[in-house]
């Protein structure tokens, strides 16, 4: 067994392209992923053009800001270009005389200007309508003399009443950078493990088939050696990542994360062996791998957050190991145990068993080592 593994390692070490893919690309992409500073914060960018400039009109801006939106004033001549250039999601236009009309019991209109098709503005409209409807009711209850009194009465009513709170479910903070880096790692690990197990196909291409035929090696031994070779490079990857996150780009990682990355790599080693057994041509293998790895990584949320995708695509994402691995990574960052929340672990174990079973099935279909080569 060991001579086979040693031979495989020597072959890989002598080929710069595979070596780069197996050892350096995972570290490079993970590092680039860590540089990503994006956040998952969603804020509507709202500009307000207030021609009324009264207490009531100003309270509308405060209400919008309280909801978490970014609110700023805008000059009328800038409105169109700001919307067309995407600098603002919506512009609120408050007409002169708004407060006076409101206090008289009329129903003055606020205009919400936006681009056609900007659906998220529907939430904004509902929020403003409900706020102004509440002020309308308060005006009827309290009969205030001025806008300032009305706004003051609303603050008073809110002080002792029901309030809105946001609470975290778990204590751990999820780093978007680490999530993105891990997603990139899942992508590149898939690719590199499929390349590592492609050594089975390379034997044929390099005309070393006869040597394998003459050697006293069983087919399971041969495949186990290939599996262990890929696992050794996977371990090396994990070790380099440990060095990177501990000494170079300091990020809070846990043993569970390394275990997850390792477990994920093992899943793809099994799939790689299956693929190498069923695909006969190196060219077909080389064409399938980028298609498979890229599409699965995109679907599984390795490149962008899943909420960006429509509902059915999010459901479709569940057929990829990437989806469960990314979810498990988030759970680990939240400080939860994968053994307590078993779904992700079970799903990943299911993929592992499936790929292992496919490999065994493919191997049984072939009668000998010579056949599968």
């Amino acid at each position: 067994m060991w001579p086979l593994i040693k031979n495989n390692i020597q072959i890989i070490l002598s080929r710069k392209s595979i070596l780069f893919l197996l050892l350096f690309l995972p570290v490079i992409l993970f590092s680039l992923g860590l540089l990503n500073n994006s956040t998952s914060d969603i804020r509507l960018r709202i500009a307000v053009h207030d021609e009324d400039k009264t207490n009531l009109s100003q309270s509308l801006s405060e209400t919008l800001a309280r909801d978490g939106s970014q609110v700023k004033d805008i000059a009328p001549e800038d409105i169109e270009n700001s919307l067309l250039d995407g600098k603002e999601d919506a512009v609120v236009l408050i007409p002169a005389g708004f407060e006076a009309a409101f206090l008289r019991g009329e129903q003055p209109e606020v205009t919400l200007r936006t681009l056609k098709g900007q659906e998220v503005v529907a939430s904004l409209k509902a929020s403003l309508d409900m706020h102004l409807s509440a002020l309308n009711r308060l005006r009827d209850i309290r009969q205030p003399e001025s806008g300032a009194a009305l706004v003051g009465a609303m603050a008073e009513a809110e002080a002792d009443g029901l309030r809105f709170e946001s609470r975290r479910i778990t204590e751990g903070n999820v780093s978007q950078s680490l999530n993105f880096a891990s997603g990139m790692l899942f992508y590149v690990l898939t690719m590199s493990m499929l390349q590592a197990t492609a050594l089975i196909l390379q034997e044929k291409h390099w005309n070393t088939l006869n040597r394998v035929r003459q050697a006293p090696v069983g087919k399971f031994t041969y495949l186990t050696a290939n599996f262990l070779t890929a696992a050794i490079f996977l371990l090396a990857n994990i070790f380099f990542l440990f060095l990177l996150t501990t000494f170079v780009m300091k990020v809070k990682t846990t043993p569970a994360m390394y275990a997850l990355w390792f477990f994920y790599g093992i899943i793809w080693i099994f799939f790689g062996i299956f693929l190498a057994l069923v695909v006969n041509s190196r060219a077909v293998h080389a064409s399938i791998v980028p298609i498979f790895t890229t599409v699965f990584a995109m679907l599984g949320g390795s490149f962008w957050p899943l909420w960006l995708m429509p509902e059915f695509m999010r459901k479709l994402a569940m057929i990829t190991p990437h989806y469960w691995a990314n979810d498990a990574m988030t759970l680990i960052q939240k400080g939860q145990s994968l053994f307590a929340q078993k779904t992700d672990l079970l799903a990943l174990a299911g993929f592992l068993l499936l790929f292992f079973a496919l490999g065994v099935f493919a191997l049984r279909r072939s009668q000998s080592v010579e056949n599968f080569l």
Binding site: G117, M130, A134, L162, F164, S166, R168
Partner: protein, 369 residues
Amino acid sequence: MRSLQFLKKEGLHSLAAPETVLLMLLFPLLITWVLGTAFSGISARTIDLPEARMPFVSDGGMAAQLYQGNSGHSGITFEPVSREEADSGLMDGSLKQYVELTDKALILHSDDPQGMEAMMVRMYSNAFIQQANLTGLALKEGRLDLAAPQFFEYTRIEGMDGRAEPSSFGYYGVTMLTMILMYGSLQMLSMLSQEKAARTSLRLKASPYAMGKVFLVKTLASCFILMVQAAIIVLFNHFVYGIEYRNIGLVLMMVVPLAVFVTSLGVLSYQVFRTENAASVFLNILTIALVFLGGGYMMVSLDDSTFAALTQFSPIGWVNQGLFQYIYRGSSAPILWAGAKLLGLGLVMYLLAFWLFKKEEGSDRVAAD
């Protein structure tokens, strides 16, 4: 005549190669579908309202019913669950966030309080709380006639036409086309190396057909096949995905300089790196970097300054921006300028590769022998 026969041979080789169909055709079509569908809710300017479903824990009282009942305006559907169901969902990971109504507060339990659904809940809940508090105030003031929540429409949405922008399919219909054209450099590489791999290089050398012509015909064949592949992708995108290209014939003409550029890049890489593997690694990395810088993977605005700065460094970005400007703004100057630059660069690289080839013609080290 011999050149035509050689061209035919190269064409047949390419048709028989699995990467011609799998990587150069199936891959871009599949990726366009995945990316186009994944980002169908997002254009460069607008974000669709997601179908927000939020588990809701309450005592089922009047306030809870009002909270659920009025949420339709905000696009949120609250789904009542018991406390036990919520706890169990949190334990098994099937429940990521929920809203709880108690005597004192409306509580959003979430680890993603800045996400889209959380924002929608926050906006609606703040407005609802005002109404709920006023009900308490009305009862306290003895105004039973004003105890029920009211809802009037004060806000009018005024939608304005945006500039013509690509949809997600429109965007990736262009960027995946240029991405796959970029992979044409690898196809060129494979064409050059196949004679060595198939051990027909000696036969070619011994034939009366000049090696210089072999070099020329191979590059011509690669360019031609690449354009055929581009035409298939564009036609499929147009008729199956409904992607508009303004004028398909002109768009195909506009990407010819890119095909020349990538073919020259493939030839030069092979001559410089000497082996297919080394050149392949270099071209793969370069392709990913140029496509990324050119906005091939992520959908970005046509007017975004950061993106505009990045695309200056990528020939793919020049072509992408030029095609967008032509298709959606009707301006052909950017794509013509990009084409001129690419043809210039392509010609320089091709001449350099040919000089390297001629320099060592006949030796075993020459890459394309």
